[in-house]
Amino acid sequence: MAATVQFDLVSPEKRLASFQAVEVQIPGTDGDMTAMAGHASTITTLRPGILKAVGSDQTQAFAVTGGFAEITAGGVSVLAEQAVAVADLSGTVLDQMIEQARELASVALPEDKDAAEKLVQDMMALRQHVNH
């Protein structure tokens, strides 16, 4: 059996997942990465995307909108601003998220405008990804 890491996913409102995972695919701001046992200790921010944790007997995927992940040799904990299991992810939930991001972009200060626009684009990409 492959070595595992303790995977935790928490949002501000609740703990969404906690189990032993073989690998965790993380949508980092600078690009996707996969964390496995023995990974160098890293803290990365997240962009909106799909977070996938593969365990020996289960695989769970979540759509996350932002936050950060803390990776150590023995564990991955993801603190997501908002996270929804992909199974529960319907078009309306995504549309709401995109709507929120658009609202943010429309009120953003000039220096934050690019980041906010990028958030909207990331969300749209996420929706396309989910719908295939």
Binding site: P12, S41, T42, T45, G67, F68, E70
Partner: protein, 291 residues
């Protein structure tokens, strides 16, 4: 001496009051459990967040390029007090204790010649502060339509605070809320959120060993606004649990007092009834003797 009928009405009315306070107590107990669960569910996120932020701010905080949210504006003139209270009363000293703490702080700052701005969350705090500090109030967040506070509300409040900060409206922001200790004890707390203060002791030892992606500064800039939202959310949850706890014990006291009053008035009622009977007997007997 009130008449028997008056006494009887009074007893019935107190009994009705007792029914209401008893019901309110039970509702508060049910809500308290839910609020406590919510507060507990939010704890892992807040703790992790604080630990990471503490580590980051320890390593970046001293440099001159540190973000303004962490380092502050370099001034200490304008203070924003975010006073978080309940939307409803009948919860003992819950609202008053927060307001009292905020008022003391506001007067202290005013005495030092600083400018005070007040943002209220929850109707009760606004009503109480309006009496003497109305000139300093700059805004109000109404949560009376919100059944269950979620992260979305915290984000909205945090966004409001951050927008004002970016516009240069204040230098220091402090949250006022009640920290939940137990059903009978809630501690009014003042917590400074801008510039962010993180306890280095939370960081642990291993923090310095992390790789940061993108960069430490980049992560910090991304996380600081989230940190404000997280702190606001924690405060909202603590406040929610405290409010229900305070209401529960206040209503428990009210129920007990109503019981005591009912006992007292029932005794008076019985005595008056017996006095009336005795009086009638005396009248009949003395009437018969006179014949």
């Amino acid at each position: 001496m009130p008449s028997l009928k008056d006494l009887k009405n009074k007893i019935t009315s107190i009994k009705n009051t007792r029914k209401i306070t008893k019901a309110m107590q039970m509702v508060a107990a049910a809500k308290l459990r839910r609020a406590q669960e919510a507060a507990e569910a939010g704890r892992p996120y807040a703790e992790r967040m604080n630990a990471v932020m503490a580590g980051l701010s320890a390593s970046v905080g001293t440099s001159t390029s540190a973000p303004r949210l962490l380092a502050g504006t370099g001034e200490d003139k304008v203070h924003l007090l975010v006073v978080m209270t309940a939307e409803r009363g009948l919860c003992g000293g819950f609202n008053s204790s927060i307001v009292r703490l905020a008022r003391v702080k506001a007067n202290e700052l005013l005495a030092q010649g600083k400018t005070v701005k007040i943002l209220t969350v929850g109707k009760k705090g606004r009503e109480q502060l309006k009496r003497d500090l109305a000139a300093h109030m700059i805004g109000h967040v109404d949560l009376s339509d919100v059944k269950r506070v979620g992260y979305a509300q915290a984000q909205a409040i945090a966004r409001d605070i951050l927008t004002r900060f970016d516009a240069g409206e204040f230098d220091v922001a402090t949250l006022f809320y009640n920290r939940f200790q137990s059903v009978i004890s809630q501690i009014p707390t003042a917590q400074q959120v801008i510039p962010a203060k993180y306890d280095a002791a939370d960081a642990g030892d291993a923090v310095a060993l992390y790789d940061y992606e993108p960069s430490e500064e980049g992560i910090l800039a991304d996380l600081l606004p989230r940190g404000v939202a997280t702190q606001v959310f924690t405060a909202l949850l603590e406040n929610g649990a405290s409010e229900q706890g305070a209401r529960m014990s206040a209503m428990d006291n009210a129920t007990r007092n109503a019981g005591d009053m009912i006992d007292k008035y029932t005794t008076i009622y019985n005595r008056s009834r017996q006095a009336a009977i005795t009086k009638e007997l005396i009248e009949i007997i003395s009437g018969a003797e006179a014949l």
